[in-house]
């Protein structure tokens, strides 16, 4: 290697970039520009917001009025509201984060990914921008869920801070799940396949948890499964943060899962993104 034997004009621009590393500020600016792109896409394609806008409405109505009576006794549906709405917060995060997988898969069908990957930006910034926007969608879904909950009689037995903690915890856990779905989206061939696999995994995890019913009413083997299911931890944590009750174990377990999932899947997803041709 020969140092600085530039045979071309205009080396200044490149030299200024040092060895081509991307600084934190530049990285944040890139994530901002890419997040803006994802937001503009939503604006152009408002139907893609349907899941975030309608799912919380349909799920609260469905579960409170169809199962609420069965769980808490006819006429006592509102007792079930305080049980199921915090659980739905956990579920909502999971369902919204699933969309990131189909989105990223779809992106690769188009040439724009090639452009991003030939530009001087950190490759992770494309993925992080996706997560930023999905977190925004998750917050909207959660807000609608809470409005529905309050309309159906949800009461906060603790305080606003605890409620915000529950929301924050769902967001952190949801963000960690997104890495799994990004990995899935980068691995499967079609968006349909991503959705198919995601459903297969999501259904047992969602229903085999404490989200909808008390695990103590389930057979022993299923009760044991719910105990190791991170969604139960999150649902219990959100429930106790809103209704009052011991939170330490479930909160720590949820955070541990979130960190664990991110540490394992985020580097895999970025590596996969880098290599994908």
């Amino acid at each position: 290697m020969t140092t600085a034997t530039a045979t071309l004009d205009r080396p200044a621009q490149a030299a200024a970039a040092g060895e081509g590393r991307i600084g934190l500020r530049a990285n944040l600016r890139h994530i901002g520009a890419l997040s803006r792109r994802n937001l503009l896409q939503l604006k152009q394609d408002p139907e893609s917001m349907f899941d975030a806008l309608l799912m919380p409405v349909i799920f609260t109505l469905l579960f409170v009025y169809v199962f609420g009576g069965a769980v808490s006794g006819k006429g006592h549906q509102h007792d079930y509201v305080n049980y199921v709405v915090p659980g739905l917060m956990a579920m909502m995060g999971m369902n919204i984060s699933q969309a990131v997988g189909t989105g990223i898969n779809d992106d690769f069908k188009k040439g724009v990914m090639d452009r991003f990957r030939t530009m001087p930006i950190a490759r992770s910034s494309v993925l992080i921008a996706k997560i930023v926007v999905e977190l925004g969608r998750m917050m909207i879904a959660t807000a609608i869920l809470l409005v529905m909950g309050f309309a159906l009689g949800l009461t906060i037995h603790t305080d606003v801070l605890h409620l915000l903690a529950a929301i924050g915890l769902s967001a952190v856990f949801g963000a960690s799940l997104m890495w799994i779905f990004i990995l899935l989206g980068l691995t499967m061939r079609t968006p349909q396949a991503v959705q198919g696999v995601a459903m297969l995994v999501l259904m047992p995890l969602q229903f085999g948890s404490s989200i909808f019913a008390k695990p103590t009413t389930m057979p022993g083997w299923l009760e044991n499964f719910t105990k190791v299911n991170p969604l139960s931890n999150l649902a219990d944590a959100a429930r106790n943060l809103i209704n009052g009750g011991p939170v330490a174990h479930s909160v720590w377990m949820t955070l541990a899962w979130a960190v664990g999932i991110t540490v394992v899947t985020a580097p895999l997803a970025v590596a996969r993104f880098r290599k994908k041709t």
């Binding site: 290697m1 045979t7 970039a17 060895e19 890139h30 803006r36 188009k110 990957r117 030939t118 041709t277």
Partner: protein, 349 residues
């Protein structure tokens, strides 16, 4: 400090022994090529020759199995981050975000290239103007015509003032008018001093835009040189004669063939076109043929000589016909669909 590699003097792209295999398929099988700074190198080859793989390696999208490539002084494998600052890529498929408007696309790319918000806006507007997209600036790109998309794609590649621009089959699938628009833009970029590596399967395109050519086939370079040099390699001119009386076509062909003129190539009789083609090397041969026909009393309706087309160059070099063998103009207008139809008629000599 930035470390740049020295290349052969004046080379903006230097590729040596590049290999990329996909299982049994040798997409690149030891490719060497150079693009001199400020020039356009045409990389010519049929579908599957390895052109796109080459561009993807040179733009850091895939890693080669072996070989080296230095672009604008940066090693593709060792300095991909620096390299990405100095290249622009316009792919076979428009690489813009279809859901975003033209302006939003260009603005986003400006921001990703570290322009300030104001500079990114100004640069986007200037390029929209230059590529005649100002009117459509606010519409989502998915509503653009094929040519507008390709122009937007070119504009997007130009935002960072790339030193080296890769154009991967930039006019595939475009109609003739749009194709001409894209050609004009490319010519303007070159006039502004850009170094361009252009891949194409259309002879006419290579002839229009490139000063030098590298012909590749099945991952290997089969020929390279200046366009005129390559043509000369294939041989001299072809003499094309139409008799006044089409019924005399066969007799005329036989007369030239049997005359045993010194050094004359094989005579071809094209009944459908009513023409006889004779490869000739010298002016003397031309005179002899015409003299012969006059002496035998054949009437000549039309006579012309032409230099070999690049299709003929390809045929002569690779021993098989290029996909667009029947006149590159119509083939390039028809795009890839027509190209694959020609595939079936491919003749292996």
């Amino acid at each position: 400090m930035t470390t740049r590699l020295s290349t052969t003097k004046g080379s903006a792209v230097e590729v040596r022994g590049l290999v990329k295999h996909y299982g049994q398929t040798k997409a690149l099988d030891g490719v060497d090529l150079d693009v001199r700074q400020g020039t356009v190198l045409g990389v010519l080859g049929p579908n599957g020759a390895g052109k796109t793989t080459l561009v993807r390696v040179l733009s850091t999208l895939i890693r080669p199995d072996a070989g080296t490539a230095v672009v604008a002084g940066y090693d593709v494998l060792k300095q991909p981050r620096q390299l990405r600052r100095v290249i622009g890529l316009t792919g076979q498929y428009a690489s813009v975000d279809e859901k975003l408007s033209g302006r939003e696309n260009l603005y986003m790319i400006g921001r990703l290239l570290d322009l300030s918000s104001r500079d990114a806006k100004a640069r986007a507007d200037a390029l929209l103007e230059r590529f005649s997209l100002t009117e459509a600036a606010k519409r989502p790109a998915m509503q653009y015509s094929g040519g507008m998309r390709r122009r937007l794609d070119l504009a997007a590649s130009m935002i960072g003032h790339p030193q080296v621009l890769y154009l991967d089959e930039p006019t595939t699938g475009l109609d003739p008018r749009t194709r001409n628009e894209v050609w004009e833009e490319v010519q303007r970029m070159v006039a502004d001093g850009a170094t361009v590596l252009l891949t194409t399967q259309y002879m006419e395109e290579a002839e229009q835009l490139a000063s030098e050519l590298t012909v590749i086939d099945r991952g290997r370079v089969v020929a390279n040189g200046r366009v005129a040099e390559l043509k000369a390699k294939v041989g001299g001119r072809t003499l094309v004669i139409s008799p006044s009386d089409p019924a005399q076509l066969a007799a005329m062909g036989a007369a030239i063939g049997d005359a045993g003129l010194d050094g004359l190539g094989g005579v071809q009789t094209d009944t459908a076109a009513g023409q006889i083609s004779v490869p000739i090397l010298t002016d003397a041969q031309l005179t002899s043929v015409v003299g012969l026909l006059a002496a035998r009393g054949f009437g000549i309706a039309h006579i012309e000589t032409h230099l070999p087309s690049l299709d003929e160059v390809f045929l002569a070099i690779t021993g098989k016909k290029a996909e667009s063998q029947d006149g590159s103009a119509s083939a390039s207008a028809d795009g890839p669909a027509a190209g694959s139809a020609h595939d079936k008629q491919e003749v292996t000599v």
